[in-house]
């Protein structure tokens, strides 16, 4: 379980996170929803110790993040995390060199699934394919937790469908996933849990099926209620 407890962060004078708390379970897809600039990406960076927080605590399976944690949790940001001049195969080699949890068979499987050529240079890939490679680098790690920042933004519809398909496959099963988005439509049926965020605070945290069952509301209904109400 990933626990974010009362996390506060200031950037200059601006308070970006005003005491954010939520949890994300293993085996579930948790979606952080909010318009751009409300601090979703900052939360992910904070979980990965890529940016300091002013107060609060973040625990992964009950412990603070350590270097060993990076075999258990990985972050897929919205830009590719490998140098442009690398070939896909070289990027694979880099991952294999440093991560025990790198799964080369799975990487090959994903390469075929996404119809990518490992001899291509990252710099020469289309936007959609770059996003797929970036996704692949995270998915081919046998980690328990995956953080994905806006995996659907700015790419074509077919790439989007392919990526959405990943969520219903064994590639995600049993892992804990946190994804951020500002547009829920593509993935409403894929997610387990929603954390609505606005201006650095959690407005509501709910289980999607429970809300449908008990209140007969869609995620968008709840959003409308929370943001307008």
């Amino acid at each position: 379980m990933i626990e974010v407890k009362n996390v506060k962060k200031k950037y200059g004078r601006k308070q970006i996170l005003k005491g954010i708390s939520f949890t994300a379970n293993k085996g579930e897809i948790t979606c952080l929803i909010g318009i751009n600039g409300v601090g979703k990406t900052t939360i992910m960076k904070a979980i990965m110790a890529l940016t300091p927080i002013n107060s609060g605590e973040i625990l992964i399976d009950g412990g603070k993040i350590r270097k060993e944690s990076f075999e258990k949790i990985t972050f897929i940001p919205d830009t590719i995390t490998m140098p442009q001049q690398m070939k896909i195969s070289e990027a694979f080699q880099f991952m294999a060199d440093f991560y025990k949890s790198w799964n080369p068979q799975r990487a090959q499987e994903l390469l075929q699934f996404f119809k990518l050529d490992e001899n291509d240079r990252i710099a020469n890939l289309s936007k959609g394919n770059t996003a797929k490679v970036n996704m692949l680098l995270g998915l081919a790690l046998d980690v328990d937790y995956l953080l994905m920042d806006e995996p659907f933004s700015g790419i074509d519809i077919f790439s989007r469908e392919q990526i959405a398909e990943v969520f219903t496959s064994h590639l995600i099963e049993d892992r804990g996933v946190i994804i951020t988005t500002h547009e829920i439509n593509d993935i409403e049926h894929l997610i387990d849990k929603v954390v609505l965020i606005d201006e650095g605070a959690v407005l509501r945290e709910f289980n999607v099926e429970e809300v449908r069952e008990n209140e007969g509301k869609s995620v968008v209904d709840v959003m409308r209620e929370v943001y307008r109400g």
Binding site: L50, T51, P52, K67, I80, T81, M82, P83, F94, K100
Partner: protein, 276 residues
């Protein structure tokens, strides 16, 4: 340790193409320089003979010969190429960090989330820089005998005063690079290492606190300098109370302190303060 070596290999590899280009430039410019300077030297002699209406034997008697090889070593061909290497390495000290942030990609995310201590990245980059420095120095060691041969091959023996190759290493433009004793070696490259480490830590200050960080970085760098050179200051203030060797030892101590602080601060910044 294995990850450290892999990272060093990776870092050196990334700069290698650029490095080879610079190496090529150095070789070409110094070799051309050796030829051009030698020809120029001969031309000068001929001009002198013509002007002064000397015969060659008179010329020799007047003691007009010079040391063409040392002239070459002090020419722009050598000085500028050495200077170019220094400048490029200085720039790369910054670029080796900033390239991880400022590109279309965000490789820093990957580096900082490797399942290895973040200090390893720092040491790998530090090692890479030092290796590049040693590479240039080795290149110069290889180039000198070749140039020595070249110059003496173009200029006939009668027209020149020879210097030994070993003397060439003490020349102004190169003298600093080739220490003759172990202590000097430690001091020279130790200071180099410390200097790069302090710059790295200053860069990490900026990367951690951004605008405010620039201020911290400057204060930190100045403080480091002051601590390091304090024995020298002490030497002047005490008006020679200490033996030079004592001052030297003190410099080693303050250097070690500055280096230690740089590493300790880098550990802290990378672990708790760095921001992508």
């Amino acid at each position: 340790m294995k990850n450290y070596l892999k990272l060093v290999h990776f870092e050196v590899n990334r700069f290698f193409k650029m490095y080879l280009i610079v190496v090529g430039l150095v070789i070409v410019s110094q070799l051309i320089g050796a030829v051009v300077e030698s020809k120029e030297y001969l031309k000068n002699i001929k001009r002198t003979l013509l002007r002064e209406q000397y015969s060659f034997s008179e010329y020799l008697q007047e003691g007009y010969q010079a040391e063409p090889f040392s002239q070459f070593l002090n020419s722009g061909w050598v000085i500028l190429s050495v200077f170019m290497c220094v400048v490029i390495l200085m720039l790369y000290v910054f670029f080796i960090w900033y390239r991880e942030w400022f590109a279309k990609n965000t490789f820093i995310y990957r580096l900082l989330t490797l399942p290895t201590s973040r200090l390893t990245i720092y040491f790998a980059k530090l090692t890479a820089i030092m290796l590049l420095v040693f590479g240039f120095i080795a290149l110069q060691i290889i180039l000198l005998p070749i140039e020595h041969q070249l110059v003496y091959w173009i200029i006939p023996a009668d027209y020149r005063i020879d210097i030994l190759l070993t003397e060439a290493f003490n020349f102004v433009s190169l003298g600093g690079l080739y220490p003759s004793t172990f202590i000097e070696f430690i001091l020279l490259y130790g200071i180099g290492l410390m200097f790069v480490a302090v710059l790295f830590t200053a860069i990490l200050f900026e990367r951690s606190y951004r605008l405010k960080g620039i201020f911290f970085a400057i204060v930190y760098s100045v403080l480091s300098c002051v601590v390091f050179i304090s024995p020298v200051v002490l030497h002047f203030v005490s008006e020679g109370y200490f033996y030079p060797l004592e001052i030297l030892s003190l410099l080693l101590v303050t250097g070690a302190i500055v280096l230690g602080c740089a590493i300790w601060l880098a550990t802290y910044l990378l672990k708790y303060k760095i921001t992508v």
